[in-house]
């Protein structure tokens, strides 16, 4: 099965990705990623509270980008990938 191909274009445009299959149920650990936008923490606090109430078996772990202006540093992406099963990102203020 082909799993990787070389890009035939001039590479000016990002690859359009398909969404990964949606899970049947929540389980394991959910990463809550604050992108450093104002009040992202308020949103994630409430979300975390609701998750703990409604999905008691699920753990949450908080992450935060150092700046909203740049993509997440690789160590944060690696940590989310390694430690978590899902990620919820608070996008904006």
């Amino acid at each position: 099965m082909v799993t990787q191909i070389l890009d035939p274009t001039d590479e000016r445009v990002p690859i359009k990705r398909q969404l990964t299959p949606r899970p049947e149920a929540l389980h394991g650990t959910i990463a809550l990623l604050d992108i450093s936008k104002p009040r992202g923490d308020v949103f994630l606090d409430r979300l975390e509270q609701l998750l703990h109430e409604r999905a008691p078996g699920v753990e949450t772990r908080r992450f935060m980008k150092p700046t909203v202006a740049k993509p997440a540093p690789q160590p944060i992406k690696d940590a989310i990938l390694e430690e978590c099963d899902f990620v919820i990102e608070a996008l904006a203020d």
Partner: protein, 566 residues
């Protein structure tokens, strides 16, 4: 074959083994389905046991699944290293198993061999005992029971398919972005969804396939071939190769495809205009010279159509380069009103043997022995001309003229028109002793009609505006013949197809032809050796093929040439 200096592999228990170890070591590389490896593995085990702690004996196995098989079959206790990824095999570039490297305590490789040569193996076994601190002591190996010599087997890293994969991944030749597919992706749907295709499925450009394609040229994969409009994106040899793979090309086509990309991107050919025009033009490739047979092009039955890999893939590869790198996409900068099936691919070779004349390439200034590809921009056709009655040149030229007089519309002047004569039609001219120019002059004469018949009218809206009458000299000029074609050289004559029947084909050029001039490349192993615009001298590949010709006004010309002169 290079003795390794440093590597790390896992052993059968998953423990990481760092090379070099502290002391002397005998390192072997083997695979399971090799009789000579199976003959020699017990010998290596004997050396391992006889040298005790004085010498390490490590055996790298070229497949993970073979490790337990070999361990059990030969009751092995020495470390068996997993080289399933073939990292070590690739680094050492072994082509035969078994291969042995003996290192002293200073990590110098002092002896090496491959296959089984009893003399050499005995020397290595003896030296192993010496390095282990037991000089002069024989191993427990019964040398007398062993054959003098056994050839080794081909190493897995050189197996077809595996070798290409290793080169593609490890050589560092390929720098294009890797696109990961999800397990749920269908490769063909994915590539279509990304906009990579011309609507038909393409061959997925895996690293292995692209690396193999690049073997068709010695040119550096990162060499820039051209700047491709409309995005004005640089295209490297690697990008040409990726699109060539997708088009279904073979490595031997790559120099031709590179050459066509170079030709297409000259200002002379002007691929920008060709693919942006609302008239729906497309590059048509015509090949001359020995390359036609060398890469298996079709110039016989069905030459203009489907069924031949070289014809189809070379033209398609050029179109995919223009689409994927140049960004020419229908509805985007490709504004073709309707287009046509020849816009997928249109590329063929001239049937030079069946032609009574010099080939197109020779006519354009090349030698008969040159490998030449000529691109011309065609928007119309292919349209069939049927004439099974003509027996001489005059009759045949008259039939062509009658058909060509209506190209685009009967009133409008044209410039380039490609006439692809079948061998039977070309043979009529040959037997009548007609040259190409004889044919052209007859067509020029037959297609010239009085100015009044080229003017717009209430009955047919196309044609020249009435205002041109004054510029021709007023009312008196209304009966003066005005040619259909600007110049006889705009009637391009080639021969292709088989002698099946008396049918030929015409294709109409794009927008009077001056915005794109037929442009040819002398093809070498790395692409175009030289590029020449019709009627012009050789030019630099990047140089403009044309000067500003202004708007073409064929109706005001009576003589002269529209050739682009460099």
């Amino acid at each position: 074959m290079h003795p390794p200096t440093k590597f790390s592999l896992l052993d059968a228990d998953g423990q990481e083994m760092q090379f070099p170890p502290r002391g002397p070591i005998l390192l072997a590389l083997v695979k399971e389905d090799c009789d000579t490896c199976n003959l020699t593995l017990p010998l290596l085990e004997a050396v391992h046991r006889d040298t005790d702690d004085g010498l390490d004996v490590w055996v790298a196995v070229q497949k993970t699944d073979d490790i337990p098989v070999l361990k059990e079959r030969h009751d092995l206790t020495m470390p068996l290293l997993d080289d399933d990824a073939l990292d070590l095999s690739y680094e050492t570039d072994i082509d035969t198993v078994p291969t042995l490297f003996l290192y002293d305590e200073e990590q110098n490789c002092t002896l090496q061999t491959f296959g089984f040569d009893k003399h050499e193996w005995r020397e290595i076994a003896g030296e192993s005992m010496t390095l282990a601190g037991r000089p002069g002591v024989e191993t427990s190996i019964d040398w007398e029971s062993l054959p003098e010599q056994r050839p080794g087997c081909g190493a897995r890293n050189y197996e077809p398919g595996v070798y290409e994969r290793l080169q593609a991944i490890k050589s560092g030749d390929l720098l294009s972005r890797l696109v990961d597919l999800a397990s749920s992706d269908d490769i063909h749907d994915f590539m279509y969804d990304q906009g990579y295709t011309d609507g038909f499925p393409v061959v997925p450009p895996t690293r292995e396939r692209v690396w193999k394609m690049l073997q068709g040229t010695t040119r550096d994969p990162q060499d820039e071939v051209a700047i491709v409009p409309p995005n004005l994106a640089p295209i490297t040899v690697e990008k040409v190769a990726i699109n060539a793979v997708m088009a279904g090309a073979k490595p031997e086509y790559l120099p031709s495809i590179i050459a066509l990309v170079e030709v297409a991107c000259t200002e002379s050919f002007n691929i920008h205009g060709v693919l942006a025009t609302t008239m729906g033009a497309t590059p048509v490739g015509i090949f001359n010279g020995p390359i036609r047979d060398r890469i298996g092009m079709n110039y016989l039955h069905g030459a203009l159509g489907s069924g031949n890999r070289a014809n189809a893939a070379i033209g398609r590869a050029l179109r995919l380069c223009a689409r994927n790198v140049g960004g020419s996409v229908p509805g985007g900068t490709d504004r073709a009103t309707q287009g046509g099936p020849h816009r997928l691919t249109m590329n063929f070779a001239e049937n030079e043997d069946a032609s009574p004349w010099d080939s197109l390439a020779v006519e354009y200034g090349f030698e008969p022995t040159d490998d030449v590809a000529t691109l011309m921009a065609m928007s119309g056709g292919p349209a069939t001309i049927a004439d099974e009655r003509s027996r001489d040149g005059r009759g045949m030229a008259g039939t062509l003229a009658a058909s060509m007089s209506a190209m685009q519309d009967p009133k409008s002047p044209m410039v380039d028109t490609l006439v692809v004569l079948s061998p039977d039609h070309a043979g009529i001219f040959g037997r009548s002793g007609w040259s190409k120019d004889d044919v052209r002059e007859c067509i020029m004469e037959e297609t010239a009609i009085p100015l009044k018949h080229r003017l717009r009218s209430d009955d047919a809206g196309a044609g020249l505006p009435p205002s041109v009458v004054e510029r021709f000299g007023g009312e008196a000029a209304l009966d003066r013949p005005v040619p259909k074609f600007a110049d006889k050289s705009n009637i391009i004559l080639v021969v292709a197809g088989s002698s099946a029947a008396k049918f030929s084909t015409i294709l109409g050029g794009w927008a009077t032809g001056v915005y794109s001039t037929p442009t040819s490349a002398n093809i070498g192993p790395n692409g175009a050796l030289s590029i020449r615009s019709r009627g012009g001298s050789k030019m630099d590949k990047r140089q403009s093929g044309g000067r500003d010709l202004g708007a073409f006004e064929p109706s005001f010309r009576e003589t002269g040439t529209s050739d682009v002169e460099e």
